[in-house]
Amino acid sequence: MTLWLMAGLLFTPLAWAVLTLLMNFTWGRLVTWVGIVVQVLVSLGLWLAVSRDGGFYYGLGGWEAPLGIELRVDGLAVTFVLLTAVVASACGWHAGVYIDADKPWHRYFWPLFWFLWSGLNAVWLGGDLFNLYVGLELISLSAVGLVALGGKAGALRASIRYLLAALLGSLAYLLGVALIYGQFGTLSIAGVVFWLEEHPVPAGSSLALALMVTGLALKTALFPLHRWLPPAHGIAKSPVSALLSALVVKASFYIAARLWLELGEPLGNLAAAQLVGLLGSAAIVWGSWLACRQLELKQVVAYSSVAQIGYLFLLFPLTYSVSESVTLQAQQGITLQVISHALAKAAMFLAAGNLILSTGSSRVDALKGVSRFLPFSLFSFGLAGVSLMSLPPSGGFAAKWLLLQASLGSGQWWWVLVLLVGGLLSAAYVFRIYRASFLESSETDHFYHPPRSLEIIPMILALLSLGLGLVSAEVLSVMALPFEEEGSP
């Protein structure tokens, strides 16, 4: 059963990419919706299977590492697979209604969407360094294609900038992979870790980790390498922005985090860990500050992503040479932050898209006076904002709580200040939007109510993100499952 689920998980997005490539937009939408159901069921099935029986390695083509490529199917990976299924299906559903079916080039939205999905799954499950590179490129190229789809000069400029940044990041990562292979003769992360456990650290391989992490940080838009993100996320169509902010940047971060957790202790050093944390903190402050100053709604949300990504990088200092319980808290906190930010940010972008559709303008001050029309999307936007401000009971709050505990527990109290100030700064830009919408204005006299289905999707995502905090113990317990180290099932 598990084997079939795995095959289904890998096959469906790729197959649907081909299927939808052969159709026009309307048919593609129909087929995609069927595919979404299949993929969600498969992801859910796999998640249930893993939460019942524990994780395993899945050797593709029947070959085991190091000769073949092994997928690492553990609690964390399947949780992210499930998260991807939830967010991507929400975006796919939304896009089907939101995107104009009459433009001929929009038919290419669907294949790119499915390729993106398959790339994400490849990254969550990947256990092979080079395979992760291919997965990353799959994601980057389809994401760039989606940003550029049918766009004007502005969108093209953003996507070129995005592409160049992504390519440079991938190359840096690949160079690190080359060094690792040169050193260890294997591409399997588990193989490298296994060897390092029993042998002294060979000289010269720290650079490999540094290169990989730097490249991935560039792809994740860590300050000061974040300049490409806001234009790309701000200018893309809202469902695309949602996908990019919610999932795509998380993919590269996920690899970086996995590498750091596995190899950071032998290959990293304290200064580097603190430096990464410092850059993350700078991202939180700088991103929030810029978010406060944006005039366009989606730019606010995009800069907020820069800030929220900063939190993720606190993982590095909080897991380097600290006690096991602190490491665990930091990991759990970051995992919750990834999940809750993914849900909240997707909700926010989709809601922002609806609001732009309703008011006919992409500017923040266009929200003036709309509250009398009871804009449902504004409410979703606000709820998602609660999670971004990491106020209870959202998942963001649970994440912040765990990170606070980790910082206090490891004696690195300076991150406590960052976390608290970051929360207040995010409140500053979220409340700016609230404020704009509460302003009464007699000038606003029309308001287009988007179709119900468009409005419900961001609400569901926002509620999920908000409720995540209440069930975070259960969600995290799946990740702590025993992992079966030996062979395939």
Binding site: L3, W4, M6, A7, L10, F11, L14, A15, A17, V18, L21, L22, Y58, G61, G62, W63, P66, L67, G68, I69, P104, W105, L112, F115, G119, A122, F130, N131, V134, G135, E137, L138, L141, L149, G150, G151, K152, G154, A155, L175, L179, Q183, F184, G185, T186, G191, W195, H199, P202, A203, G204, S205, L207, A208, K237, K298, G360, S361, S362, R363
Partner: protein, 233 residues
Amino acid sequence: MMRALQTLVMALACLAFTGVLATSIWTISGNPTPVNLTQLLTENMGRSGVEHPVTAVLLNFRSYDTLLEIGVLVIAGIAGISMAKTASLEDPAMRTSDSLLYALQRWFVPLMLVLAGYLLWAGADRPGGAFQAGAVLAATGVLMRLGGSPMEFLRPGLMLRLGLALGFTVFLLVAVASAIGGDAFLAYPPGMTKALIVVIETVLTLSIAMVLLALFVSAPVNDAEDPEEGAPS
């Protein structure tokens, strides 16, 4: 002045980067590798279905990489044709009526087709394979295109998309076929490995050529565009 300073800083940074990298490579080259993959590979060659190790790695041991990589290529193709002119591919500027080119074309096209076929066939036991063959095939197409052949099948339509997807689809179907039978994804059924790899290589050659050619041809852009969200249309 600022630019010069900037250049200097960048140059120094890149120089430092090169230095660190070279040092690291030098250090690593002195360490022995703990895992000897080559030996493992040699031991398993017999089960791989092909004689040439690179092909064995590409299409058997690490076939998932290859599958995704074809995906990447298809994405590039899709993104390319999504921007192509839909009405007509005829771009007079791209046409040349150079008699030398014409002659070259008459000589080279058949030769290149043969070469592509050879490369494909050679892949089984010596350097060669689908990518090389596909690249040569695409180059043939480019030459014909420059020489003025209309190549109507490259118009963004169902035919082109079928062509783009063909290799990927066959690969994917083979990958899933064994999984339905209860084996791992991408495993070849025993005994059919060689035949399947040949089939995959052949269709891949066609698709790769098609993608590359489509990207070349889709250079003329369409002027139609989406209004940005929120902008008055």
